[in-house]
């Protein structure tokens, strides 16, 4: 690992100023991904600004919105009573991610910014456009079973690995971003960038900008929601496909629907078209199949990951079926 300077931030604005002033500086929160990347020589900052002691760890809000400090840990958010009561899909996604040890370290803000698990990105001896723009993508004809079938390009097929970003995207959550300029709010659906020809750009954050809070709209009472994660082993693994969904069913009709997929996209994949199909329909297998078809619309498989297209469809149908059968 390259030697680096360690600075403990004294305030949010000081931290932002410290990182903004130095193109080789980086924030450090829980570090559960970042320190690995530093050990693997993928990420080589010269200065690390530790923000873990900043006062961004409270959860507050009203009856419509939950406001979450970006340094809240995954375990803390999962244990929050509003999340347990009003956002089961968020709670489930948090608890199905990582391991208890990691969830006690990892922050929600850091989770949203976690880097892909693509082994080519994480091994500097291989070609990766995300790590080294223009170098090529070794995953395309390499081992890409875990890679994305939605939102990919010939520059990059790396999957976005976060679980909790999937329900947050489905719910229309936003991040509050602070930098040296004006504070801004960005919905997660606009926060992440598909790779296109610039896979090194993963989101709209500028260097030195920080996510300070997350704003999650609460689901209307009576809404059923959940997160389904399909993976090889029963715990401690990333998704081959995952689905976050919420349905408000009233009088045999779906009044409101939220749907997003994980494990299959280069970004958390919300599907407005599928939500439209569901809204106003009777909750039956036919409309679930149509929603699933819409959810995977445009998916492109490689030789090793084509199965994820059908797996993703089946996962959507299963998740929606579970929610509709709960009544």
């Amino acid at each position: 690992m390259r030697s680096f300077t360690y600075v403990r931030a004294t305030g949010v604005d000081e931290a932002i100023a410290e990182v903004s002033a130095d193109p080789e500086a980086a924030f450090l929160a829980g570090g559960t991904t970042q320190v690995d990347l530093m050990k693997d020589e993928v990420f080589r900052p010269l200065k690390v600004v530790d923000i873990t002691r900043l006062p961004l760890r409270e959860v507050s809000g009203d009856d419509d919105t939950l406001i979450v400090g970006a340094l809240t840990t995954m375990e803390e958010l999962a244990a929050h009573d509003v999340v347990a009561r009003r956002l089961p899909l968020v709670r489930q996604a948090l608890l199905l991610g990582a391991s208890p040890q990691l969830r006690h370290m990892a922050t929600v803000g850091g989770n949203l910014l976690q880097r892909t698990r693509c082994r080519y990105f994480r091994d500097p001896s291989t070609a990766c456009n995300k790590r080294d723009p223009g170098a090529g993508c070794a995953a395309l004809d390499g081992f890409h079973r875990m890679h994305a079938v939605l939102g990919a390009s010939s520059w990059c097929v790396a999957t976005h690995a976060s679980d909790v970003a999937v329900p947050l995207t489905a719910l229309g959550a936003s991040v509050r971003i602070r930098g040296q300029g004006a504070e801004r709010m960005v919905p997660l659906t606009e926060f992440y960038r598909v790779p296109g020809e610039t896979p090194q750009v993963e989101n709209v954050l500028e260097h030195g900008e920080m996510i300070t809070h997350l704003e999650i709209p609460l689901l209307p009472r009576g809404t059923r929601s959940g997160y389904l994660k399909v993976r090889d082993r029963a715990s401690y693994e990333f998704a081959l496909a995952s689905v976050a969904a919420a349905l408000l069913i009233d009088g045999g009709t779906i009044r409101a629907a939220h749907l997003a997929l994980g494990g299959v996209g280069t970004v958390p994949w919300r599907v407005p078209r599928a939500e439209e199909l569901l809204r106003g329909a009777a909750p039956d297998r036919e409309v679930f199949a149509a929603a699933a078809e819409a959810a995977l619309s445009g998916a492109v498989g490689l030789p090793g990951n084509g199965f994820k297209i059908e797996l993703g469809r089946r996962a959507v149908v299963r998740m929606l079926s579970i929610l509709s059968e709960e009544s």
Binding site: S3, R117, R119, G142, A234, L311
Partner: protein, 728 residues
């Protein structure tokens, strides 16, 4: 004695020292002035190093030396006593696998060495790697172990068989992945070398190191009293161990070399992948008339590895016509090695899957098919078994599992959208015992110290040898101390092949006999001793005393030593492998395994719901550690069946998933309650009646699971691991 000390579920004698962090593993040794070595590994799989530039690395802070093939000492390609030694490192510019060590950087700190290793620049002359078992360019080595065997006329019997099954099965390469990263700490004192090493065989590592370094064997001492797991990875003397010794000599200081997790995938062996073709012929009433098994396995370019994959077909079933052949395919992959039940783990999957397919073809219960073709004698040699309770394993396992509740129709048992499947498999492991020596000292205060160079890789050797010595000497457990894992102690084979307990236990028997004889020699003319003139065969031991069988008179070790003004008496003993060509064939352990799996009908995910093992391991010295061995092996077997797969990229020869995040092992959530039932009695081959049990957990488990998956889904998966895309 109030109660037996053998057979009981005695707690591990090393438990306290381990859980309190006082057990010193090889990585815990930091001699004064120790320097740190880090490997530089090839990023191509075939070709050669055209040019190396080490100047930046040499100039980096803290760097003491950079060793490459251009300045490494000449090393000797040794033929080992305990199996083939991997080729010595850094002897030429040739590259034969991705991840091959091409340089070692030694620095004051680990971080400095790691950063400097990054600065070594390499210009490669690339060749096209051959890394796929089916690549026609690969060299085939036929009958590599001289173990191919046959009886009868298989082709004729197959041609005439009313029912035939012919199938090809694949098993993936697996990596041992012990939790403790392998490490070596090497120190020279003049020409004397001391090495703390992650090895399963200190005696073997000592002789291999002496050979490779061209040093006298007595000048090398290897210590491994504790090991953070091995699963077979410690059965060969790997290049990093040699390099630590070379580096220590070069810099004139002790050197510590700890492999990274990623390097563990390329540096300490793996279970080779296989492609196996099984042809079985049978009569309509389920009598097997022919078994033909051709097993291909992968091998590295310039190494040898003993892994008899088709063995199970030579001894498994009572067929009059059998042919079993092994072929090794040389590829640009890292050196393989033993991993938990080497050979049998893969061979059993193919044979027991084919048996299941035959049972389905015949419309016969898979258990009934196995009972009908049980090998009452060795099917090829006709020898009687020294002991074989496989039938009892089937019976007990089936009963405990509730096999009779199985509806034979595939896809017939379901709960909602969960498909339920029952599957079973039988397995054996070969008998293995090797030449071993041990020493016992009894001191005047009535304590015993047992010493042997053999080691405890976590299986419980300290504990069972304490129990055995206590029984053999008539002492309570608390009065026996066992010292292991030091090559300066009496030589012992490696801890592997389910062989150490039998080997060391037999040596202990002999040492005990010699020790009692020494005590009796001491009192031969002692008129004060009730044992005067007694022969070793005339006495027994109890409560710290030697006692005459005829009149029950005797005296304690303490009394004898005190009266004769001796502090202690010591004796050594040894035992050899059983002779070959006996009328009875020494027979290893057996097991029957029964698995219940749940398969999600839509998503294809497979979870093991229950797994019952009934095992015949001969005499069980410690129920607790024996059960732990089989449970641990079964966890490995579940991993082999469903998760574990060392993926080598066809284009580059690079291992694509060499991390714990990407190479999946079973986690707690994947493991249901695992039942183990011991059946049958002692085996007469060794004086302790043991057969070994450590290797019994893996083989049979993948086949039982795959057979259960077929029963659940109607889909036959012939390629491990079984992943959900094969079931969608």
């Amino acid at each position: 004695m109030d109660r037996a000390v053998v057979g009981e579920g005695v707690d591990r004698v090393d438990a306290r020292v381990k859980v309190s962090g006082r057990a010193a593993y090889p990585t815990d040794h930091d001699p004064p002035d120790v320097a740190h070595a880090v490997l530089v590994q090839s990023t191509i799989a075939a070709g050669r190093v055209a040019a190396l530039d080490t100047s930046a690395a040499e100039a980096a802070p803290g760097v003491l030396a950079v060793i490459t093939h251009e300045n490494a000492p000449e090393l000797c390609a040794a033929q080992g006593e305990g199996g083939p030694v991997p080729p010595p490192p850094l002897q030429s510019d040739r590259i034969v696998h991705h991840g091959q060590t091409i340089a070692v950087v030694v620095a004051e700190t680990f971080e400095q060495a790691t950063e400097a290793a990054r600065l070594v620049t390499v210009l490669y002359a690339r060749a096209e790697p051959v890394v796929d078992i089916e690549n026609p360019r690969a060299e085939h080595v036929r009958d590599p172990f001289g173990t191919d065997d046959a009886t009868g006329d298989v082709d004729k019997a197959l041609a005439e068989a009313p029912v035939r099954v012919e199938r090809t099965y694949r098993t993936a390469a697996n990596t041992n992945n012990p939790m403790g990263p392998f490490a070596t700490v090497a120190s020279w004192d003049g020409d004397e070398l001391t090495v703390h090493d992650c090895t399963q065989g200190p005696s073997r590592t000592r002789s291999d190191l002496a050979n490779v370094l061209k040093a006298p064997r007595d000048s090398v001492r290897v210590l491994a009293p504790y090991l953070g797991g091995g699963f077979g990875a410690g059965l060969r003397t790997w290049q990093h161990t040699v390099l630590a010794a070379v580096a220590a000599r070069q810099v004139g200081r002790p050197v510590k070399l700890v492999l990274t997790r990623k390097q563990m995938f390329t540096s300490v062996g793996h279970r080779p992948d296989t492609r196996q073709t099984l042809r079985i012929g049978a009569t309509r009433d389920g009598r097997i008339t022919a078994i033909d098994h051709e097993a291909w396995q992968t091998l590295s370019i310039d190494d040898a590895n003993y892994e008899h994959v088709s063995r199970c077909s030579l001894s498994g079933y009572a067929s009059p016509n059998i042919s079993a052949r092994d072929v090794q395919i040389r590829l640009h992959v890292p050196s393989p090695g033993s991993m938990r039940a080497p050979g049998d783990a893969q061979g059993n999957f193919a044979l027991e899957s084919a048996l299941d397919e035959l049972a389905h073809e015949l419309g016969m219960d898979p258990l009934e098919l196995r009972l009908r073709n049980h090998a009452d004698v060795h099917p090829v040699t006709g020898q009687r078994w020294s002991s074989n309770e496989l039938r009892a394993c089937y019976r007990t396992g089936a009963e405990k599992f509730g096999w009779s509740r199985r509806d034979p129709e595939p896809r017939s048992m379901r709960r909602g959208r969960t498909l339920v499947g029952y599957g079973m498999a039988g397995t054996s492991f070969f008998f293995y015992q090797a030449s071993c020596a041990a020493r016992i000292t009894v001191t005047r205060d009535g304590q015993a110290v047992v010493g042997s160079a053999g080691m405890d890789l976590g299986t419980g050797t300290y504990t069972v040898m304490t129990q055995l010595a206590a029984e053999l000497l008539g002492l309570p457990l608390g009065r026996v101390r066992v010292v292991l894992g030091d090559s300066s102690l009496p030589r012992a084979p490696s801890a592997g092949g389910s062989g150490l307990t039998g080997s060391m236990g037999s040596a202990l028997h002999d040492a005990r006999r010699n020790l009692i004889r020494s005590f009796l020699d001491l009192v031969r003319d002692d008129t004060d001793s009730p044992l005067r003139g007694a022969d070793v065969d005339d006495v027994r031991v109890e409560d710290g005393r030697i006692v005459r069988e005829d009149d029950g008179r005797g005296e304690s070790y303490t009394e004898i030593l005190t009266r004769h003004r001796q502090d202690e008496l010591t004796a050594e003993g040894s035992a050899e492998a059983p002779k070959e060509d006996l009328p009875v064939v020494p027979t290893g352990p057996y097991a029957a395994k029964f698995a219940e799996v749940h398969v999600d009908e839509d998503l294809g995910t497979v979870r093991v719901a229950r797994l019952v093992t009934a095992a015949h391991c001969g005499r069980v010295l410690n129920e607790k550690t024996a059960r732990g061995q089989i449970v641990g092996g079964t966890v490995g077997g579940i991993g082999m069946a469903l998760f574990e797969h060392t993926v080598t990229e066809t284009r580059t020869g690079r291992i694509a998933n060499g991390t714990f995040g990407d190479y999946l092992v079973a986690v707690n959530a994947d493991i249901p309650d695992l039942e183990v039932h011991f059946v049958g009695g002692p085996d007469p081959t060794s004086p302790n009646g043991t057969k070994g049990c450590g290797e019994l957990g893996v083989p049979g488990t993948p086949a039982a699971i795959a057979n259960a998956v077929f029963h659940a889904t109607g889909i036959r998966v012939r390629r491990l691991p079984i992943t959900l895309e094969q079931l969608l």
